[in-house]
Amino acid sequence: MMMSAEPIQIVGEGKGQPSWLELVQRQVGSLRYGVVQIVVHDSQVTQIEKTERVRLNPAGPTKDGTMKTLFILLLATSLAATASAKEIKLLNVSYDATRELYTDYNAAFSKYWLAKTGDTVTVSQSHGGSGKQAQAVANGLEADVVTLALAYDVDAIARQAKFLPLDWQNRLPHNSTPYTSTIVFLVRKGNPKGIRDWDDVARSGVSVVTPNPKTSGGARWTYLAAWAYALEASQHDEAKAKAFVARLYKNVPVLDSGARGSTITFVQRGIGDVLLAWENEAHLALKEFGTNQFEIVTPSLSILAEPPVAVVDKNARRHGTTDAAKAYLDYLYSDEGQEIAGKNFYRPRSQAAAAKYGKNFAPLKLVTLDAEFGGWALAQRTHFAGGGTFDQIYHPQ
């Protein structure tokens, strides 16, 4: 670290001489790292000292050994000079499976926003189980936007913390879901257990890995996908569907708390014959570990998972980032945004991107949550709340 101190003398506050406040402001403005001190004699500011630091090692400790002034009023430590172009910081709070998607997308959006407005945008990401993330936002995590696994979690933020209006889902096209995904199977190379469809997953002797629906958004989609399949196969016989799903979960030796945890259990710890995974998560595992270890099996029917996105109005307003946050989500629907979604194995909404990446997405029958289960609130109550169908699997009543 190098330092250069330059005292600036003020002799009275005569005409033409800027007031000390202005001077201080100017010094702070011209400083990137350092300290601005003012020295007071007889209630008069007589001197302003600026110590500029040049950081050679940004991680290194900073220590100032030159502070000898007796009457010091530490005025300002300026971390960054106020540049002419605005520097905008956004926090995107998301769920487990979107790490790679938003790493790509953030870079693209920053470029687009810089070109359009001249402002630099830095987007930070936070990932975790969808429910936990929603809680964190409701409890004050300063997210400008949320991109979660299910609408129920965003609803909770709207309902409990009132950070955004209850009808948030109508604000963007396609129920505020710029991309969709579904639940598929990841099996070991050669598919030794011959898993083709949901029936095989529920067969005895097959070991299945999936997260706990109580703690994972992805797992709730999985549970409902299995349920929807069983309903279809049994001509809408609820009792049969329940028995089918119970059989399936009896095959699960580990219920991790999140989607990523399950992927690790299956891929790295070598547990299970089949992983019930987000489609993009399954593709990522293939990309990461090679097609010589795993294969993707697409069932005949699955659920259309719609991970929604929303601006957290109250936080964005307070941060003054409403425009950037809105643009951030809007741009997900643009050609480039859709392209990035497709590249990261999410099913894009736009025809062009869908056609381009269609080879990754095997055709299958997709049912929607609203049509099949009457929305999240109802599905939550029936299946996942205390004493719901999921609890009944492990403790028949």
């Binding site: 429910g131 936990k132 809680q135 580990v254 219920l255 403790h395």
Partner: protein, 283 residues
């Protein structure tokens, strides 16, 4: 094992009793009681039948059994082996003693998730230890045994670190006296050393036990988290939170709190009792 001086109680030589007591109460109130009160407050949103239903759900009952059972067993095993570790570290000199001593603290410092992932890797069917146990028909990962293993891991330093200083301060003259009176080694340990260590062992046990009750990070990776079988109560609480059911989550937390408090209080009373017995004997 501080001997209680009876004079200190009658006339206080040290000034500032009221000030420090006031500060202590304020501090405890702010740091401990206030958050706990918030937990109770949230629980009161439930009606009594709802509360009762939540805390007596079969899933909850199974999780209490596992959490308290595994924590108790882990603390018990640690009390035994922790005593041996402390004994070795205090009584003998050997090459690398300092390193072993430092290793004991590792479970304190390690983020619990790291501990959990490491243990899960070791004990899964293709891990270093797991593949040796598999042919014997012993499965550790994703069973209750796994929960016990994780809790044992995190609990060890508590016993060692509470027993170690007491052992160091032990007066060798007492052992010499016992020997000169004809006691054999076993009798010296059983009749002289162990009674003096009992309060420290109880403290260590209580600390390890309390820590294990609240452990979350390391356990969820190795437990398998199958409802009714390997779900610990803290995970059940997380599950309720994930579904935004704060009241039910705090109801379960209240059960944990009350039970832990009762247990810790019992252990403290037991410790006080053994301690008094000790000093009387010595006097």
């Amino acid at each position: 094992m501080t001997p209680k001086s009876s004079t200190a109680k009658k006339n206080r030589v040290l000034p500032g009793f009221k000030l420090t007591l006031g500060f202590t109460l304020f501090y405890l109130g702010l740091i401990v009681l206030l958050p706990l009160a918030a937990v109770f407050g949230k629980t009161f949103e439930l009606t009594w039948p709802e509360f009762w239903h939540t805390i007596t759900m079969p899933q909850a009952m199974a999780s209490y059994r596992l959490t308290f059972g595994a924590s108790f067993c882990a603390a018990l095993v640690n009390t035994f082996f922790g005593l041996i570790v402390a004994w070795v570290l205090v009584r003998y000199n050997f090459f690398g003693k300092k390193i072993v001593d430092a290793l004991v603290d590792l479970p304190f410092a390690l983020p619990t998730a790291v501990a959990g992932i490491t243990l899960a890797m070791l004990y899964s069917h293709n891990g270093w230890i797991g593949q040796l146990l598999e042919p014997l028909g012993i499965q550790v990962a994703n069973t209750r045994l796994g929960v016990f293993v994780a809790l044992t891991f995190i609990g060890l330093p508590f016993i060692v670190r509470t027993v170690q200083p007491i052992l160091e301060d032990l007066d060798p003259e007492l052992e010499e006296a016992a020997a000169s009176l004809g006691a054999n080694r076993w009798q010296i340990f059983w009749r002289v050393i162990l009674p003096m260590l009992t309060p420290a062992l109880l403290t260590g046990f209580a600390l390890a036990f309390a820590r294990a009750l609240g452990e979350y990070g390391s356990v969820i990776f190795i437990a398998g988290n199958i409802p009714m079988k390997t779900v610990i109560t803290p995970l059940l609480i997380m599950g309720e939170l994930d579904m935004f059911d704060y009241a039910k989550a705090t109801a379960l937390a209240v059960v944990m709190l009350v039970a832990s408090f009762a247990l810790l209080l019992t252990i403290n009373i037991l410790q006080w009792w053994t301690n008094r017995y000790n000093t009387n004997n010595l006097a």
